[in-house]
Amino acid sequence: MTRQKLALALTVLFLSAFALLGCGGKNASVPLHGGRLEPSKAASDFTLTDQNGKPFTLSSMRGKVILLYFGYTSCPDVCPLTLSDMAAARKDLGQDANQVQVIFVTVDPERDSQQVLQKYVPAFDPTFIGVRGTPAEIKTVADAYGVKYKKTLLENSALGYAVDHSAFIYVIDRSGQLRELLPFGTQRQDITSDLKILINEGTSS
């Protein structure tokens, strides 16, 4: 129940942040480009299994700026483009790139085996981490972030089914606070700019 409430709260916060941004127009000085969470909330911690079969705990990345993304590897378009954008943003950062960790959570753990993640995720950037778990574990994590996803059967497609899913990048600062949601299509330079801001903030929350 609390989880559901958190998910709801996150959605409401996001929507209101988005609405504010929309009303603010271009003259408002907005340092971050996405839907901001104000006040920020502690990013829900989780432990899943990474592409090498090892347990991965989100809080072990404390001190880095985290870009968290939920998707699936059979996704032909939106997921790879977002992963590419994040890889490009890291490149733009130069030396500061090591202050940023990208994490890809599959919402299709039935098809996205460890082996699949191992081939797919590092192809975008060798530092990227792909994580999976049982469908129940994934559901818990997704709910905690307010991520909606749903398997949809495609009758006339060789894909079998698609997984409709929230396509935001969840941005977590170095103190472990969830700060903003970047919608699909956020320009690469805007991602880079937000990362720079969060890297320079340090870890004080």
């Binding site: 590897t73 996704c75 032909p76 790879p80 699949v116 081939k119 060789a158 409709d164 919608p183």
Partner: protein, 175 residues
């Protein structure tokens, strides 16, 4: 105004036209005013997204309902009707097991990908753009890795214009 001046103006105009059409880029091939009827369908900016193989070489047919992940990619392009409305009804490639026409829609931040029923409409006097986050030709079950610089032949079938063969250059999305 003497002949020399006229010639000069003529040359300047021609140069200006040439420059303008150069600016237009590949998307709009320079119009040829002398060509007779509509110039017909044009397809430009054809590219495919680089993709890796996510499954090991040979796969045994899935058994017992085991789901298999299939490596995928997508082909994008711009198609202009050139005076006649048409419809892209089929796309085929040899690099994937299946080639389908798909679209992506965003609803409240949720991405939904669906096959396009009936085909992709090409407007008579406009351009339909297959681009990331929207309409695309989806390659399902890649038989090979698609590396930047590779070429992928795509056979397109249109309702009226019939078959058109195009070559997509594989690009990494990052610049």
């Amino acid at each position: 105004m003497n002949t020399k001046q006229l010639v000069r103006i003529g040359l300047l105009t021609l140069t200006a036209i040439a420059l303008l059409s150069a600016c237009g880029g590949a998307a709009t091939p320079a119009a040829n005013p002398t060509s007779s009827p509509p110039m017909g369908l044009t397809i430009t900016d054809v590219w495919a997204r680089a993709a890796v193989m996510t499954t090991g070489g040979m796969q045994t047919p899935s058994s017992g309902g085991m789901e298999m992940s299939k490596p995928t990619s997508a082909v994008y392009m711009k198609i202009s009707g050139g005076g006649m409305a048409d419809k892209l009804v089929k796309a085929e490639t040899t690099v994937a097991e299946s080639t389908e026409l798909h679209t992506v829609e965003m609803k409240d931040g949720v991405m939904q990908m669906r096959p396009v029923e009936g085909g992709i409409d090409v407007p008579a006097d406009g351009t339909v753009e297959l681009k990331p986050g929207g309409l695309h030709i989806m390659l399902i079950g890649l038989k090979q890795e698609l590396k930047p610089g590779d070429k992928v032949n795509v056979k397109l079938t249109f309702e009226k214009a019939g078959v058109r063969n195009v070559t997509a250059e594989v690009r990494s999305v990052q610049q």
